[in-house]
Symmetry: C2
Subunit: 255 residues, 2 copies
């Protein structure tokens, strides 16, 4: 019994409702254009890139896809799983972008350089999404269900093993490399407006803009503020990466 609610629904109803009983007979065979998991995940990534993670809801994502929220549940088991898939998708983007994950060919140093820059490029391409990636790392796959973005981990470990790293050196290098990327890119990305705050997207515009010289009890901070805000992090990334590679070289030698 349809109960005819006061129908305040003002969203655009796509199609196929009011006249379902009429002849219609107009649709070519597959008018349904079934959505698939990839379309959903891609839409989610796009939404996060544009509006940020907090605004992403199942209903809203459904709206983007011209579909009711519940339809998504046929392809993703829930919001959490969707976010996992988003993380995976972003990480696998490296694989598509170019051969970042290919076995080392010019020695492990260049290999790690490629890897690092690949990840950095991905992070900067999705500043709003990267904190999400960072906050759910490969999910300790060696315990529990597994399945996060293991292709990356596998490529790293395998690549180093094939370059003369023994097991312990490989593991140490993995940890050093990972934490380096995590720290650097998180910092870089949040400086670039990658926020995690829930729904401030709309506008926070000007309030209390008369902070001309409001009392800041932190003199050094306020003096160095401009310098801190500046963005030569690309250079710093390069330098830190070089140091990291030196350290990894020591690990390899010590093995």
């Amino acid at each position: 019994m349809p109960t005819e609610r006061d129908d305040a629904v003002d969203v655009a109803r796509p199609v196929a409702d009011a006249d379902a009983t009429v002849v219609d007979g107009r649709q070519p065979p597959s008018a349904r254009v079934p959505l698939d998991r990839n379309r959903i995940v891609d839409a989610a990534v796009g939404y996060i890139d544009e509006f940020g993670l907090p605004g992403l809801s199942m209903r809203r994502l459904g709206g983007v896809l011209g579909v009711e929220a519940m339809s998504l549940y046929r392809y993703v088991s829930g919001r959490e799983a969707l976010l996992d898939a988003v993380v995976d998708s972003i990480m696998d983007q490296m694989h598509r972008d170019e051969d970042v994950l290919a076995r080392p060919q010019d020695g492990w140093q260049d290999y790690l350089q490629r890897l690092a820059h690949g990840v950095r490029r991905v992070a900067l391409a999705h500043p709003k999404a990267f904190p999400l990636v960072a906050s759910r790392p490969p999910e300790a796959p060696w315990l529990r269900p597994p399945l996060r973005s293991l292709a990356w981990v596998e490529a790293f470990l395998d690549g180093l093993r094939s370059e003369g790293f023994n097991d312990t050196a490989t593991v140490s290098a993995y940890r050093a490399f990972t934490s380096f990327l995590l720290g650097h890119l998180l910092l870089e990305v949040t400086a670039h407006g990658g926020d995690v705050g829930p729904l401030d997207v709309l506008e926070d515009s000007q309030n209390s803009q008369d902070l001309g010289k409001t009392l800041t009890p932190y003199p050094v901070v306020s003096r160095l503020g401009k310098a801190l805000a500046e963005d030569h992090s690309a250079v710093e990334f390069e330098e830190s990466l070089e140091d990291l590679l030196n350290r990894i070289a020591l690990m390899r030698a010590e093995s």
Copy 2:
């Protein structure tokens, strides 16, 4: 038209309704024990430490404090502000724990060691909360409203300035130090059961535990899994920190 919904509200109504008018006359002066912002924030920190960030809701937090959710809004302007306050509180805990933030006395190297270990101790003390801290760094205080955990930043910058670092070296050191801590501690903490990021799942216990030898298409990962899961990260922290200090020494010299 209000339509008089079927009013099925069956929640337990607590107290203080039927007999409010009676004499009572028993309460000593301040029976209300007014809650204040600190009590709220502390309760929030405690809740996150115990149950994780995702489960924290205003109503639940109110319940912990024996208060209705809406009463919290008199002290914190909303959930987001509350989380900001939690981050601040955790960061300021360093200040209380001991004199981590005191000006350098044994040279800047020992100062930075103290700082690093102070932060690490805080991170390990609140593994469930640290990802939250990491995901909202000092909020680029030099732009916009400011006010995150600037005491820490100020201490760092001031400490280094007083130890012969010029401005650019100080800023570079700050960035290197911060990203180092971010990366290392995030990794360490999430390995220790730190919860996932911003606003996520409540609880998903064991499902599909029969992963006896499910097909893992990642041979190296599964072989090195045990080693990756092991936890000698304290040692690694120490070693990486030492290398970092060397790098910072170079920055100081180059200035």
